[in-house]
Amino acid sequence: MKKTIIIFIVILAGLFIYLSYVDSKGEYAAEEALWKINKQAMEISKDPDSVPSATYERIEKKYYEFINKFPKSKLTPMAHILIGRLYAVQKNYSKALEKFKFVVKEYSQDPSVAITATIELGKIYEETKDYDDLIGTHKQILRNYPLTAIGLKVPVIIAKIYSNRGDQVSADKAYKDAIAHYKDVIGQKPDTFAAYESMRYAAVCYLDLGKQPEALTLLGGVLIKSANTGYLNRRTATVLLETIDSIAGVNMENRNLAIKIYKDFISAHPKHTLSAVMQTIIIKLGEIKAEPQNLESANNRK
């Protein structure tokens, strides 16, 4: 039996060593290595000021060793970005900026990597209160990746940056430019994800400009036009309905505007699952409207 146990152990150990070796430079091995380095980086980022510089250097070295070991891995660009973040945690903003700019240039063909690196650049500019460069990086995303999820959001973000700085003139101009941009997208790419997102962001711009009726019209349009597309899922529907209710009921104090949108939806898509939800909302809104009348008549009877 001892001999058999030894044979079994040799088979198990041998298979383990062989399978580990065969994939030692593969993508899985890269994921494992990067995860472990990140774990250490996350530990030090909990209290960055108390960490000695030698620890940062050690982790930075591990990232570079990873890049040398896995030069063709899909995770290599991310490793560069993580080095940049490490510099940012140390408040070494010049090196962080240099690293992120390198990633944007080196991996410009990969939108997700380039956008991630550009966003990191934006964070540094925001931290260092370099608003001109902050807006510049956002415009870069808009120029290079206009129809990505983040690219579509950029015009609104730029306007909000001006607004947060108290520069209302620039903010209003930025909102108007954003609305014009979104109208372009809607016109050029109707009935697409980009069009629906553009309608939604244009509604945000109108709201921030105090133009609720225009915002409401656009949100109603998103709801009705995207009904039979993957865009209108449980999450987006909830956000849209809550926003419509908030604008009509609270901002404009006229729930009939929301009811009209829901009725338009029901007549356009009578068999849609949301139609039943909207029917319920219409009934409830009717009850809410009836309550003040009931209270009034009760007071009159007294």
Partner: protein, 285 residues
């Protein structure tokens, strides 16, 4: 030798028989090897070259995310458990029955001819796999029953007071209750396999005799199964330590490997004890 009425003495006797006659342990070594081999294959499933086979299956049945580190360790127990059931029914039960046959041969003082023993065991293979399926069925029934209680506890809104405490007990005690239910399920069917092998009865007669044996010595049987099974509490404690596994996700695979070894030891002790006691009981008669 008289049949033991004291479960601790019965366990002690069985353990010494196992240590003196290592041939009885050999089938359990094979069971452990097969399970560890399967675990190792699933451990490497997301990696080349095994991902060529497992990749499409995991993507289709679960998600692409489970082919990446460290999420693959979340799926590993599910993958292993899904295959463990058919392996237990079709393979492990056969080797456990072979071990009982070796015990019988040792008890009778016969020369150990392993080839003949495995052939003799194979003659009852259909009954053995039906018995294993019954054993698995009883366990799953108990576990499903607990799942219903757990689902009911999850919808209790109280976080304190009597209902809150019941909720916490059911949720946090789930691994331990599952262990106890497994022990109870094992007790209910523990004599079937020894009766099939020793008395060469068919599975249905063995089931009837098993119930008779159980009624005759219920608490004795519970203790025989319960005491060695307490070894598994170590595995439950290790599995529940999130801190340990978040440090190195691979530890979950190591804990599973330890679990395989512990379960093999538990099964070896339990079935040897039950079979020894059954044999001694027959000799008395």
């Amino acid at each position: 030798m008289a049949q033991n009425k004291n479960p601790f003495q019965a366990l002690k006797l069985a353990s010494s028989i196992l240590l003196e006659n290592k041939a009885i342990l050999f089938p359990y070594v094979v069971i452990a090897f097969i399970q560890l081999l399967l675990l190792e294959i699933f451990y490497f499933a997301p990696r080349h070259p095994l991902n060529l086979f497992f990749g499409p299956i995991i993507k289709k049945l679960w998600s692409d995310n489970y082919l990446h580190y460290p999420l693959n360790f979340v799926l590993l127990p599910t993958l292993f458990q899904n295959l463990q059931l058919p392996v237990y029914i079709l393979v492990s039960s056969y080797f456990m029955a072979a071990s009982i046959n070796i015990l019988v041969a040792v008890n009778n003082g016969d020369k150990l001819r392993l080839g003949n023993i495995y052939k003799k065991t194979f003659a009852s293979y259909v009954h053995i796999i039906i018995a294993a399926a019954i054993s698995v069925g009883v366990s799953l029934l108990f576990l499903k029953g607990y799942e219903l209680i757990l689902n009911r506890a999850l919808i209790i809104r109280s976080e304190s007071g009597l209902y809150g405490n019941i909720k916490k007990l059911v949720i946090y005690g789930a691994p331990y209750f599952n262990l106890l239910l497994n022990i109870l399920a094992t007790c209910i069917v523990v004599y079937i396999l020894p009766i099939i092998v020793i008395d060469r009865k068919n599975v249905f007669k063995a089931l009837f005799l098993n119930i008779k044996m159980l009624f005759r010595s219920f608490f004795f049987t519970i203790f025989i199964v319960l005491v060695p099974s307490m070894l598994y509490v170590v595995i439950i404690l290790l599995k529940n330590s999130d801190g340990l596994q978040s440090t190195a996700p691979e530890l979950s695979a190591v804990i599973m490997a330890c679990g395989i070894l512990f379960v093999t030891i538990i099964d070896a002790v339990v079935y040897t004890t039950v079979s020894t006691n059954y044999l001694l009981g027959k000799e008395e008669v």
